[in-house]
Symmetry: D2
């Protein structure tokens, strides 16, 4: 679901409502802490936009971004599966 | 999943890990606020125990408990489905 | 802290780290549900940007935005006080 | 605030309302993940009870418990300070 766009990995995730969107965000927040890698993300109601990029590598996409993206996608499967 | 037990509705919910358990708890927290009805609940690692009872009705099970229980069960389906 | 900017109420909130920022976001999420009014917000590490506007009023600032802004500011005082 | 009780470190934390209690729990959840050490905890409305013990050490209190307790107490100061 994540795709390279402007030197970030980007994906948009849709949910039933705000409650579900924010519960997903909570799960992603745990993943970010675990990976020591945090997203640039935004939310409006039932939609979550996530950009992943590595600041320490000059804001380019690195393996750290691919690793976090993979874990986020696995969590999202729970919500839409 | 919820069953009457000692004048409460009680259920135990299992998850893959703590991250998933707490994300579920976040969703339940929103439901509790929405229902103006809050659980007596506990968590250890990947397990969440929820007791529902109505204090204002002398700690008996009322329709408020059944309504919240139903919404919690629907959310749990997302995690185990 | 919130100020009118481009037909929204806008504020930026700073925190010690991501953990603190996301705990604040969780509190704001409850307020949003309570007000039936949800922010357009983003987060990077220890910074949270919040824009409030009323879609149903043609994306202008209304009393709903001022009311939610006031409650968010009160919560933020806890974190910086 | 935490005190030894029945081979655990135990403390009870009070808040203004459920929103504040659960935001605190979210912060504690991040700490638990960071410490790779998770509490046995429960919540009712504005009250959070936390027991810390080390399963791998035969359910006794170890340095892991003291370390997590110290971080939890520091977070709580934000809410009551």
């Amino acid at each position: 679901m994540f795709k390279e766009q402007d030197n970030t990995l980007y994906a948009q995730f849709g949910f039933k409502d705000f409650k579900e969107a924010f519960s997903f965000m909570t799960h992603v927040a745990f993943l970010a802490e675990q990976h020591h890698h945090h997203p640039n993300w935004s939310n409006v109601w039932n939609t979550v936009d996530i950009h992943l990029t590595t600041h320490d590598a000059g804001n380019t996409v690195t393996q750290k971004d691919y690793d976090l993206a993979k874990d986020i996608e696995a969590v999202y499967q729970k919500y839409v599966g």
